[in-house]
C-alpha cells in the first residue's frame, strides 16, 4: 500500500460510458493489483484495477465504466488535476506456475487482463484470450489484445464474434492451456468455476478501506474467510465459495 498523489494525464470516453483514465506519478504495481481513488464529494474511495502500467513515464492507466455517482463524478477529472490514490493494493496474479496461460475476461473484467497479458508476453508466453463483451460498441482493447496473440470474442447480442458468453466459446473451441486467469461478472466466474478448477480469478466487492482494516469485503473460501482487498482480489478459483 502506497498513498500517492497522482496527476491526471488523460480522461477520455472510449466507448459508451466507458472511460480511459491515465495517471502520472504512479509507483509500479503488479498485474491484478488495484488502486483506491478518492473522488471529490464522495467519502469511500473507489477501487480500480490497473489496465496498463508504463514504467518509463510512471503512467498508470485504468478503464472505468460509469455505473453510479462516483464514476460519474470521475468523468469530471480534468487533465492536470491532482488525485489522492492508494496504490499497490491486493495480491495480484501469481504468474510463477503457468506454462501455457489462458486469459478469460467479461465486460469491465477485461481491464486487468490487458496488463496481465502484456506482462505474460514479456515473460515469453504465448497469449490466448477469450473476451466477452455486451455488444460491439462496448468492445475495447480489441486491437491491443490482437497484437499480443490469438483472441476469441463473444458478445451478448452477437454483434461481434460468437453470440453468447465466454463459456460458449470455451465449451466449443478446444483451447490448449494449463492455467486460466479470469476476471468478470460474478455469474461468469461462478459458471467458470463449475467448468474448470485450474485457474485464478480476480474478484470484486464493495470496499470500506481497500487495505485490510474493515472486513467490509470478506468472502468465504474453502480456507476460511478472506479479504478481497488483502488476500485477494486474485484467488484460486477452487478456493472461492460462490454464493
Amino acid at each position: 500500500m502506497k498513498k500517492e498523489v497522482m496527476t491526471v494525464v488523460k480522461n477520455v470516453e472510449i466507448a459508451d460510458k466507458l472511460y480511459l483514465l491515465v495517471l502520472s506519478g504512479a509507483s509500479y504495481l503488479a498485474p491484478g493489483q488495484f488502486l483506491q481513488i478518492k473522488v471529490p464529494e464522495y467519502t469511500l474511495r473507489r477501487p480500480f484495477c490497473a489496465a496498463d502500467y508504463d514504467e518509463k513515464n510512471d503512467f498508470l492507466s485504468i478503464i472505468y465504466k460509469v455505473v453510479g455517482g462516483g464514476t460519474k463524478a470521475m468523468t469530471k477529472f480534468e487533465v492536470g488535476q491532482k488525485i489522492d490514490v492508494l496504490n499497490c493494493l491486493g495480491n495480484g496474479f501469481d504468474l510463477s506456475k503457468t506454462k501455457k496461460p489462458l486469459l478469460i475476461g467479461g465486460g469491465v473484467g477485461i481491464v486487468p487482463l490487458f496488463y496481465l497479458a502484456k506482462e505474460l508476453k514479456k515473460q515469453g508466453h504465448e497469449i490466448i484470450s477469450v473476451l466477452g463483451y455486451p455488444c460491439k460498441d462496448q468492445c475495447f482493447f480489441l486491437e491491443e489484445f490482437s497484437k499480443l496473440g490469438k483472441v476469441y470474442i463473444s458478445t451478448d447480442d452477437g454483434s461481434l464474434g460468437v453470440k453468447g458468453n465466454v463459456l460458449d466459446i470455451l465449451k466449443t473451441e478446444d483451447i490448449e492451456y494449463d492455467e486460466f486467469f479470469a476476471c468478470g461478472p460474478p455469474i461468469m466466474l461462478k459458471a467458470l468455476s463449475s467448468w474448470n478448477s485450474n485457474g485464478q480469478v480476480s474478484l470484486e466487492s464493495k470496499m470500506g478501506c481497500g487495505f485490510g482494516a474493515c472486513m467490509g469485503c470478506s468472502i468465504k473460501t474453502t480456507k476460511g474467510y478472506k479479504r478481497v482487498c488483502k488476500e485477494g482480489p486474485v484467488f484460486k478459483i477452487d478456493e472461492v465459495i460462490f454464493e
Partner: protein, 306 residues
C-alpha cells in the same frame, strides 16, 4: 513550548489521547506495515465474540456523502484466537496495552468472553460493545434498554479482571439515562458513540445497498451528535468518558476533550486515510499551540467549567 499530550485512563498514562476505534484498525499489526504504530495512545481491537464469526452477507459497507455505512456483523476469529494469536502478533509491533472490544448475542456469551480475558497485561481494559447495530440476535438490544444494560454490566464486572469501558449506542431517546444506568452497575468508564442507524438505497436496483438493509452510519457526519452526547454524559457521570464519532483532525480531538472526553477514538477516518491517526497525533501539538493549550489533560471537560 513543549506541549503535554499525556492523558490518564484507568490509572495508566497514555502518551496521547488518540486511540483507533474498534473495527477500523483490525487487530492493529496490519498498520505497522505503514507506520510505527507505537505513536498511538492505545488501540481498540476489532469486536471479538466467543466463537469465530463471518458476519453479515455482502454488501456490508456503503458510501455516504459525509461518512459510510457498515454492517460487518462482527467478523472475528473468536476470543481464543484473539488472545493466543492476534495479541502476540500485535505485541511484536506495539509495546503498549490495548483495548479489547467484546461483542455478543447473549448474557452468557458476553460473560464467557470477558472471563477468558483474565489478567492479560497486554490488555488495558475491555470495551463492552452493547451497541452494535449490525448483529441480529442481540448486540444493540442491550444498548437500548437500561435494565438489560445494567444487568449485563453487573455480570461482566463480576468476572472481569480488567476495567470495563462500556460502549453506548447513540440510537436512544435519553443517552444520559443509559450512561447513569451503566455507571450505577459498576462500569469503570463509558465510550461513545457507536454508529447511528442509517440506510442507503441503490438507485439502479431500488434495493437497500446493504444486505441486511439498515447499517451503522459513521464518519464526519456524526460528529455534532457525538460531541453533544459526550458533553451530556460527562456532566452526568463520575467515571471517565472516551469520545468518538466523526473525528477527523486535531481540532476535533480538542473539541471532544473540551466536551469531556478523557481520550478520543478515531474510526472511519483510518479507513479513508490509513495514516489518519498518526497524522492527527502529529497535528496535536500544533493545534495546541494555535489555541494556547499547554496540557491536554487539563482541558478535559473544560467547557463545563467556563
Amino acid at each position: 513550548m513543549k506541549k503535554d499530550t499525556q492523558v490518564k485512563l484507568f490509572g495508566k498514562i497514555l502518551d496521547n489521547p488518540i486511540i483507533p476505534a474498534s473495527g477500523t484498525f483490525g487487530f492493529g499489526y496490519g498498520f505497522a506495515d505503514y507506520y510505527d504504530i507505537n505513536v498511538l495512545g492505545s488501540i481498540a481491537l476489532k469486536g471479538t465474540t466467543l466463537n469465530e464469526r463471518y458476519g453479515n452477507p455482502l454488501e456490508r459497507v456503503c458510501d455516504c456523502p459525509c461518512g459510510m455505512l457498515n454492517a460487518i456483523g462482527l467478523q472475528n476469529p473468536g476470543i481464543d484466537v484473539v488472545l493466543n494469536e492476534e495479541l502476540p502478533k500485535l505485541k511484536k509491533v506495539y509495546s503498549k496495552p490495548v483495548i479489547l472490544n467484546i461483542g455478543g448475542h447473549s448474557f452468557d456469551e458476553y460473560i464467557e468472553v470477558a472471563s477468558r480475558v483474565g489478567g492479560n497485561p497486554q490488555i488495558l481494559c475491555i470495551e463492552l460493545n452493547i451497541s452494535c447495530p449490525n448483529v441480529k440476535e442481540g448486540g444493540m438490544q442491550f444498548g437500548l434498554d437500561e435494565h438489560l444494560a445494567s444487568k449485563l454490566v453487573g455480570e461482566i464486572k463480576k468476572v472481569s479482571k480488567k476495567p470495563v469501558l462500556v460502549k453506548l449506542s447513540p440510537n436512544v431517546t435519553d443517552i444520559v439515562k443509559m450512561a447513569k444506568a451503566v455507571e450505577n452497575a459498576g462500569a469503570d468508564g463509558i465510550s461513545l458513540i457507536n454508529t447511528l442507524v442509517g440506510m442507503r438505497i441503490d438507485l439502479n436496483t431500488a434495493k437497500p445497498v446493504i444486505s441486511v438493509k439498515t447499517a451503522g452510519y459513521s464518519g464526519r457526519g456524526i460528529f455534532p451528535v457525538a460531541l453533544r452526547m459526550v458533553y451530556q454524559v460527562y456532566e452526568a457521570v463520575n467515571i471517565p468518558v472516551v469520545g468518538m464519532g466523526g473525528v477527523s483532525n486535531a481540532f476535533e480531538v480538542i473539541e471532544m476533550m473540551l466536551a469531556g472526553a478523557s481520550a478520543v477514538m478515531v474510526g472511519t477516518e483510518n479507513l479513508l486515510n490509513p495514516f489518519a491517526s498518526k497524522e492527527i497525533i502529529e497535528e496535536l501539538p500544533l493545534a495546541m499551540e494555535e489555541l494556547n493549550i499547554d496540557s491536554l489533560s487539563e482541558i478535559i471537560g473544560k467547557s463545563h467549567r467556563v
